[in-house]
């Protein structure tokens, strides 16, 4: 089936959307949580623990000089894991620099994921093969890409959803607005996922927006907006899965805001003590996404020694493997600088490559 000959927009006559809920949607700790599959809860738990371990290991690698920089998603693991789990293999994810964990959870080799932050190349995995766009550094610029890709897939008659990730700060960029508008007008199968972690580097939410929530922005594009507790893995998982389903079924884009908190500094290079109190961080630890899951598992009698040790062994294995492989120096060929600028190097680049080749030969010879 193809939609080639249908108009790709819909008329502006839909009923006015409802305002999103004023309070973030929660599942863990509510009666509804009791209906969740035990398998889902233990899987989420295992992945979150593993995710946190990954964040810890990556941060350690910066101290050992093995990573140029690392923006940790500690505290945001529920968002990261839920984003990966909500997607099917054919779906695409458009991550930003902080979303390495989501990409790893999707199954991409962690070493390849860290290529950008290690500094050996700009992107380390094959985007086409794993359906993961390169980690985006310029904020919000990846959002229109997600819309275009989802639109293209729909035009081709393919069942593909794009999940586009952005931070609270990134929502202020013009690209955020343009992407949401194009998606709504084209009714593209996209899910916009805002991780509101309270800060854009040092800038707190109150200086970023006066909106009641980012989910409320959906109203102005004529799309549904959902506000969810970003530390409640079950809730984020449910809301994203539902948004993906809706997109697949032709229901168009959804804007999801997950309210969470950046526990670490912006990156290892940042000093969060300059702009926020430890007390605030401590307060958020009470709503730690792993602790919330643990409570639920305990309440359901699913939390036991064997789960814990299995999960921790798994996390340690991943961490050890990551550490070992990141400690190897990547093999780099300076001539690659010229290899992929164009399909064929221009005469100008050929000249320049020759010059570098001669220098390298001289270096090697001397």
């Amino acid at each position: 089936m193809t939609v080639l000959d249908q108009p790709v927009w819909h008329p502006r006559t839909e009923p006015a959307p409802l305002l999103p809920d004023a309070e973030p949607y929660r599942v863990l700790g509510t009666p509804q949580a009791r209906t969740l599959e035990p398998g889902l809860l233990t899987e989420l738990y295992g992945r979150l623990v593993r995710g946190r371990r990954y964040n810890r290991q990556a941060t350690a690698l910066t101290k050992q000089g093995r990573l140029a920089v690392y923006p940790s998603s500690t505290g945001q693991e529920a968002c990261q894991i839920a984003a990966a789990l909500a997607l099917r293999p054919q779906d695409w994810i458009f991550p930003s620099y902080r979303d390495t964990l989501a990409v790893v959870a999707r199954g991409v080799d962690p070493v390849q994921v860290l290529t950008l932050l290690r500094g050996d190349w700009h992107s380390g995995y094959d985007s086409r093969a794993c359906h993961v766009a390169p980690l985006s550094t310029p904020l919000a610029t990846q959002l229109p890409h997600a819309v275009g890709l989802a639109h293209a897939a729909r035009l081709q008659g393919d069942d593909v959803v794009a999940l586009a990730m952005v931070g609270d700060g990134g929502t202020s960029e013009g690209d955020f607005h343009e992407a949401l508008n194009f998606a709504a007008v084209w009714r593209a199968p996209v899910v916009f996922f805002v991780q509101n972690n309270g800060f854009a580097i040092s800038v707190p939410l109150a200086k970023q927006t006066a909106a009641p929530s980012f989910a409320h922005k959906a109203v102005g594009y004529g799309m549904p907006g959902r506000l969810v507790d970003g530390n409640d893995a079950a809730a984020v998982h449910e809301v994203l899965t539902e948004a993906v389903r809706q997109a697949r079924e032709g229901g168009g884009p959804t804007l999801v805001e997950a309210v969470t908190y950046r526990i670490e500094a912006h990156t290892n290079a940042d000093d969060a003590g300059r702009y926020r109190d430890d007390a605030e961080v401590e307060a958020w630890r009470d709503r730690d996404p792993i602790a919330l899951l643990e409570q639920e598992l305990r309440a359901r009698g699913l939390f036991d020694e064997s789960l814990v040790s299995e999960v921790e062994d798994d996390a340690e294995r991943m961490a050890a493997d990551l550490r070992d492989r990141m400690n190897e120096d990547p093999a780099l060929d300076p001539m690659d600088l010229f290899a992929h600028v164009y399909a064929e190097p221009t005469p100008q680049l050929r000249e320049q490559a020759e010059m570098l080749r001669a220098e390298l030969d001289a270096e090697a010879g001397s």
């Binding site: 939609v3 080639l4 000959d5 249908q6 108009p7 790709v8 190349w121 700009h122 992107s123 094959d126 985007s127 086409r128 093969a129 766009a133 390169p134 310029p138 610029t141 959002l143 229109p144 890409h145 997600a146 819309v147 275009g148 890709l149 989802a150 639109h151 293209a152 897939a153 035009l155 081709q156 794009a162 013009g174 690209d175 607005h177 343009e178 992407a179 508008n181 194009f182 007008v185 690659d336 290899a339 992929h340 600028v341 164009y342 399909a343 221009t346 005469p347 100008q348």
Partner: protein, 342 residues
């Protein structure tokens, strides 16, 4: 890489405008390749403000020739995503100055995606930008922005000056696996020539300059809207005994050093002509590299005749800004004819 097939011409040539040739190039590309998709403001039902996409939405449907919301970064950004999925988007920016909102997408993504992903995500994207002045446009409708593009590694930058090149270069741009900035000289849209889309020897590849008029005294190096002005200047120069060669670059990146160097080594003198501001303009690069390569053949420094280093003037004053035949001849006269031989 000219596809200069020596086949017989199938169709008789007829008078056509550059606008018509561009329209035909888009039509043929859409017909030949289902992955080609056009995006832009007013390109659908209206057929574009310059009518370059006239009739295409009707023939190929709204999904192949799409009127987008009014947001240039959004247009280019979604086109990037479409290209990532394997389509071959052709974007129209309505006017030169209205491409600036898309600058970040262009510089930070379009030009770098292939390199970023080691070739895994090439972006076969064409960005059509009507450019230049001389049409009496109010502010923001007459910019020449090529210098911004040619300084951005990862982009190809081409611009036709003839009806045949308009067709051939646009087909080549759309067929290219790299992003191409396709600069359309607005004031040549209505220029005419006898032309047939089926004459294959008229399909130039990207990266090849062409000598529009051979000559021995000096080389006028130019492109796009200034090509006819230079040809006119060369005609006029004959009266003064100068036999000027006119070289049309067609492609600013890749750059055809070979053709250019050969010409200037022969003539020993050169003037670069373009509309955009001179300071840091394309002419600076051209003059610098010609000098690097032809230093000992040069009888005089390479001179530049360009727009002034000012914001583009209002319509009633633009004639004072644009390179004119007289200014070109003045520059030729300053090529130190006393000291070297013509």
């Amino acid at each position: 890489m000219t596809t200069a097939l020596a086949t017989a011409r199938a169709t008789a040539r007829k008078p056509a405008t550059m606008a018509q040739a561009l329209n035909r190039a888009l039509r043929d590309a859409l017909a030949d390749d289902p992955s080609v998709h056009l995006l832009g403001e007013d390109i659908g039902t209206l057929g574009g403000v310059f009518r370059i996409t006239d009739g295409l939405a009707k023939e190929f449907g709204d999904s192949r020739c799409t009127d987008t919301p009014l947001a240039e970064a959004g247009i280019l950004g979604t086109a990037v995503g479409m290209a990532m999925y394997g389509l071959r988007p052709v974007v129209e920016m309505q006017f030169d100055a209205f491409a600036y909102p898309a600058f970040e997408q262009l510089v930070s993504h379009v030009s770098r995606m292939r390199n970023r992903t080691r070739g895994e995500l090439p972006l076969p994207l064409t960005i059509r930008v009507p450019y230049g002045g001389g049409i009496g446009g109010v502010e923001h409708h007459s910019d020449s922005s090529e210098a911004y593009y040619l300084h951005t590694p990862g982009l190809h930058v081409v611009t036709p000056a003839t009806v045949a090149d308009a067709y051939g270069l646009l087909r080549a741009a759309i067929a290219s696996d790299d992003p191409v900035i396709f600069l359309e000289p607005k004031r040549l849209y209505w220029s005419k020539a006898d032309w047939s889309p089926d004459a294959p020897d008229e399909v130039p590849g990207i990266g090849q300059a062409v000598v529009r008029r051979p000559g021995r005294s000096a080389t006028l190096i130019t492109y796009g809207p200034s090509v006819p002005v230079c040809l006119e200047a060369a005609e006029a120069a004959e009266a003064d005994g100068w036999d000027l060669e006119v070289l049309d670059l067609r492609s600013l990146m890749p750059f055809d050093d070979e053709t250019l160097t050969a010409s200037v080594r022969r003539t020993g003198r050169a003037v670069v002509v373009h509309e955009s501001a001179g300071f840091g303009g394309a002419g600076a690069e051209i003059a610098a590299r010609v000098t690097e390569r032809c230093f000992h053949h040069l009888e005089a420094p390479v001179l530049r005749v360009t727009g002034f280093d000012i914001p583009y003037p209002p319509p009633m004053l633009e004639r004072h800004h644009l390179p004119s035949v007289d200014r070109i001849l003045d520059a030729v006269a300053r090529l130190q004819w006393d000291e070297g031989g013509a």
